[in-house]
Symmetry: C2
Subunit: 182 residues, 2 copies
């Protein structure tokens, strides 16, 4: 995709909340923030080293048990300033959704293609499952709060993802019912 190192800013943002180890950051990408961005540990560890070289973060060593060394990274003043100017900077480029399913639709030339109903039903199942996951997540994090004071950003993007999935699903439903002789 060749972004401009967005991952770096995500890590800064997470470390700004509280210091973390590389392993913990990996867990965050697998769970906490994984709905919106993915990163494997093989990408995270080298990046942490580069960011420390640049002075954006530092680490201290914690020993667990007798031998195991954990590197707990914290954000530096310089890092905090880089994070802040990223958030404040314009975001002129739109997310280009590269949706394989939608691409396939492009090459279905005819409305009566026999494969369409099955294809759409498959996507409905996938997006319904995802919507359920997101709803459970909102319930877990925010309960029935309307607009929470803290974690406002997290609330915002969860709400955004929920709205998007609801729209995607209702679009799929609508297309399915509008198909000829279905």
């Amino acid at each position: 995709m060749a972004q401009k190192n967005i991952l770096q800013y995500i890590i800064l943002g997470l470390l700004d909340q509280e210091p973390r180890t590389g392993y913990e950051l990996t867990q965050d990408f697998a769970h906490e923030i994984g709905e919106f961005w993915q990163a494997q540990h093989s990408q995270i560890y080298p990046l942490l080293a580069r960011m420390e070289e640049q002075g954006l973060i530092t680490h201290s060593v914690e020993v667990a048990g007798t031998k195991l060394e954990k590197k707990r990274y914290s954000i530096t003043t310089e890092g905090r300033s880089a994070l802040s100017s990223w958030v404040g900077a314009p975001t002129p480029t739109m997310a280009t959704t590269k949706d394989e399913f939608v691409l396939k639709l492009y090459f279905v030339q005819r409305a009566d293609d026999a494969r369409l109903p099955g294809m759409i039903r498959e996507q409905i199942a996938i997006h319904q499952e995802w919507l359920d996951h997101l709803e459970a997540r909102r319930q877990l994090l925010f309960g029935d709060e309307n607009v929470p004071q803290d974690q406002f950003g997290h609330y915002l993007i969860l709400d955004h993802a929920l709205t998007r999935e609801q729209q995607y699903l209702s679009w799929l439903d609508q297309q399915l019912t509008q198909l000829p002789h279905n």
Copy 2:
């Protein structure tokens, strides 16, 4: 992103419509299909060579003027079969929208952050412009037709993109009006 060579199938799909040169394919990605997938010529030309090696496409040489050689590629039987099995295969992976703006929102911790209104207004402008473009495109391609017989797939994904942008915009509008003392 490490997809499974989706670009290859898009090229097969385009060549299935009619034979094209690498240059023409590049133009298609810049205009026709550029709303949904991007590819530069530097990615297209080497891929065409690889696809020809695999027997998915062939080319014939056209001479324009006195010297200029154009390679016009067509899909082979093998290519048509690969395209068809791609379209027919399950699409189990969801599009992971990596939306830089939404990521920034995640790190805005407080609802009264002074930067929020400006950030949201910027995105409204961008998405409004995009929506206008898509609407002009639909008007151009399909006029006031409701559900066209031919180019059904193109109609579908344009409709999908339009719906998505409308939803994105209304979400942004809603968040803007709900901000404290705006």
